[in-house]
Symmetry: C2
Subunit: 222 residues, 2 copies
Amino acid sequence: MSTDQTRLAILAAAERLYADRGFGEVTLRDIVAAAEVNLAAVNYHFGSKEDLIAELYVSRSVALNRERLTELKAAEDAGGGRAAVEAVIAALVGPPLRGCLGPDRQRSAAARFMVRASAESVPVIRRIRTREIGHLRRFAAALRRALPGLPEADIYWALHFALAMTHETINGAERLQRLSGGACDLDDVAGIVARIATTVVQALAADTTAAAPPRRAARPRA
Amino acid sequence: MSTDQTRLAILAAAERLYADRGFGEVTLRDIVAAAEVNLAAVNYHFGSKEDLIAELYVSRSVALNRERLTELKAAEDAGGGRAAVEAVIAALVGPPLRGCLGPDRQRSAAARFMVRASAESVPVIRRIRTREIGHLRRFAAALRRALPGLPEADIYWALHFALAMTHETINGAERLQRLSGGACDLDDVAGIVARIATTVVQALAADTTAAAPPRRAARPRA
DNA sequence: GATAGTTTCATACAGTTGTTTGAATTGCAA
DNA sequence: TTGCAATTCAAACAACTGTATGAAACTATC
């Protein structure tokens, strides 16, 4: 078996297991069993368990950020360099939501892995996670262009809340479904993205109503 | 040392350590060291590590829910049996936020423990957590009274988002502070509660006004 | 102050964890 | 083929995990 095959098999198995069970409930032996490779392969190819997690997180983080920025760029280009607030938020929350939810159950392990990494406290990941800040500043700038004059704090609260709703929706999807007795449709991903975007827009609009009248956006519903 | 003293010392130490480091990074030996009791005391008094966590979670969960319901009841009584949406949300998110944030750094370990328990995937807690649903139904009913005619799904999405913003604000307080360069004041707890409540209210308001003109909001696509 | 019932303690236990080792196997260039 | 490096493998390693044991220390009752 070629080197890359083993490496990729380990990465894929680790990603899936961590996404499914969480970091605390997965051992190296679980991973190598799922990847069908020898136990020593992990240390041979990655050095240590921590290094494996780090490489996994970095690579998936890069991919997610690229996806988000591509969508943001498209929205800005379509709007002549300035994207609407809804579009900025949708670019931020769309990729993870589409990757984790949806009816076709083709839910990507990568997206679920990233959300787990956001929620659980793993020292290695916590150490790396600082980079995310730089990435979010790009979205802060987009919001600043969309709503000139908005206080800086409101911009960051908006991004923060958007991510909050996204993560909790993914992690707590089952609870929400049970709580609502099925009234909340977790398969309508586009609707969820729109709902989160609208919520953020409304909050920001309410903030600026000090001078201007509130603008109301319709929310698409099934 | 009396029995209760040892029990309470263990519970307090476990709560603080789990709140500080997360469930995956704390061993029984860490706990008994912090509590200054013998290793065997945990199994003697609680039966097992799982039982300790379960008892800890249940007791703190009961206390948190009581605090929330007291606040909700007070708001309903003040409003003649019907509380405003802001008050309902404030009763839901106020207790954990006040317990976890604030300038006096008198942040309670109990509140942080509960938020950790919400975020991380611990089998024991996951098993118990079903009760929370019954508790949330009480708040759903309060929202229903506050906004008659609101679709059921919207009620549950509102509660879900309120909890989402609360948890992420507590868990990601440090990141938000760094991201915003200090622009977001994490010490102004009352302001945060109000911000979350306002966000939910605005989102719900947008929903009812949009009921008349059913148009689709623009969804950004590449 | 002897007795019986709790509670503490040092210690050991069996199982699991991540990691290492050195020999076997493979892949590939000369 | 031969030779050599890269990779795989079974096995063992030390460290750590939660748990159990039995003797010691304590507490309260008679």
